[in-house]
Amino acid sequence: MIDNQQQELIIDHLYMSFTRPDDGVPLKVLDNISFKAGGGEFISIVGPSGCGKTTLLNIIAGFEPVQEGRVLYNGQPVVKPSPERAMVFQSAVLFPWLTVHENVAYGLKRAGMKTSDYKSIVKDYLKMVRMQGFDDYYPEQLSGGMQQRVALARALVLQPAMLLMDEPFAALDAQTRLTMQELLLDLQQELSTTVILVTHDVEEALYLADRVYVMSKRPGRFIHDLTVPFKKPRTFSLRGAAAFAELKTEILQCIFDQVDD
């Protein structure tokens, strides 16, 4: 569907292990991961807790070094973090000493933009995530969902080619999670940013993505992948469709078989 020239990110036979702090024994976390991402595609990676999802994203973001295998971004090995690959963390990780406005402006300032120039841009992005009017609030005065919206604006304002999302809605209540999923779906359509979202929520993965990878329990490897056939823009009613339920069951079965052995 998407030709190789367009692929911004290439993960090629990636392995990763940590040293267990208590006995120094290596702990295998990622086992032969290969995939490509780019061209505005929305990829979900779904897998059980502790399977290595965060580790995988951290490597793609450049927070963790590549031990074995290759991670190429636009043909270059990933060695350090970059605003081109912006991350939305599981907890929002907003800077508590900065206001909402200042948090969103942070990356623009680092890029050397002047106050007069970024002011209106920040406002636009806050509006985009439906957080207009909260400019002067401090993060601790916001609910979890609002904080995650600001984190999203803080990343998107840098117009990243790729958005990395680490279970961004896992800590939110069910209703807020649904609202955030709709928001993300809309924004991704509008901005056509490539997204890699990791989650343990199968429905979330399926509803948002163009492609889903299923990860095994640790050491994480891809045990299944599927192209999601539903056209975008999608609407809420899709969640109730029989075809949607079928795919959901297919993925759950995959994960379930894993837990068995």
């Binding site: 973001a61 350090k80 963390f89 800077f95 009017g133 002067d136 609030y137």
Partner: protein, 269 residues
């Protein structure tokens, strides 16, 4: 809308300043007890003057109306001298302690280079430096500054280092991902994230500065509240000794309030 929110949080932090009637019961009882034991002849005035006398001397020290002691009206002069010494010593400690502490907290080479020495020096009680300081700097100004700066340095250094070393790695990652380089990471993430701990260190340091200005001034300078205390003791003015203690406590408290307000101005969160 945003401003309203901000105000309410200031109110929350101002709660600690709110007047609590229970807190003044004990001081009132102590003063009553002091009044009773001094006015019924149990304790002679040359050991413990009665509260009213101390009150009058305190007022006279400030305004000089009654001339009850040779120190009448000289409070401002002495208080200013002591305050300037405290500010100079404290400033020296802060200028050295904050950057060195932050660097120690973040850069392993600096920590390995500085920390053992600082911890070794720290084991010598501040007062223990007095004789050596007098040999090195003579009696007076320089010795006082040295003692204050030395004593205030340690809590400032240690708290800054502690704050810098415990900055959440997630903040650092977020900063890097948003395009911060090594330098801006330091100024825009590490410094503000360490700020609460750094501020606590500064407040401790300022408190110690007042303790050590008295120590320095006890040793033969002519101006300053510590000098007044020593002088009054020799002349047998116990009331003046007590009055000096009270004013030092007041100045210490006042300077802490001012420092806290300044720190809150720098970082309202």
């Amino acid at each position: 809308m945003g401003n309203k929110q901000r105000k309410s949080r200031v109110n929350v932090s101002a709660n600690s300043l709110r007047f609590d009637a229970l807190g003044i019961v004990l001081p009132c009882l102590l003063i009553a007890f002091w009044y009773i034991i001094t006015s019924y002849g149990r304790i002679p005035a040359y050991l413990l003057p009665p509260p009213l006398q101390v009150g009058q001397v305190a007022l006279d020290f400030a305004v000089g109306t009654w001339q009850v002691t040779p120190y009448a009206g000289t409070l401002w002069d002495h208080a200013l001298t002591s305050t300037i010494r405290v500010l100079r010593g404290f400033a020296l400690a802060a200028v050295l302690g904050v950057p060195l502490g932050l660097l120690t907290g973040r850069i392993s080479v600096v920590r390995r280079f500085l920390d053992p020495t600082v911890n070794m020096l720290r084991t010598v009680p501040g007062i223990g430096w007095l004789p050596l300081a007098m040999v090195w700097f003579g009696v007076g100004e320089k010795t006082t500054l040295f003692l204050i700066a030395l004593a205030a340095f340690f809590p400032i250094y240690i708290n800054s280092a502690q704050g810098a070393s415990s900055v959440s790695p997630l903040y650092l990652r977020a900063g890097q991902m948003l395009g911060a380089n090594r330098f801006s990471l330091f100024t825009t993430i590490i410094m503000p994230a360490s700020f609460p701990s750094l501020a606590a260190g500064l407040r401790l340091g300022l408190g110690l500065s007042w303790a050590f200005v008295v120590l320095g001034e006890l040793t033969g300078v002519t101006h300053g509240l510590g000098a007044v205390m020593m002088d009054a003791r020799m002349l047998g003015h116990v009331d003046m000794v007590m009055v000096s203690m009270i004013y030092i406590a007041l100045l210490g408290w006042l300077s802490d309030r001012i420092l806290t307000a300044l720190l809150r101005l720098i970082q309202p969160f």
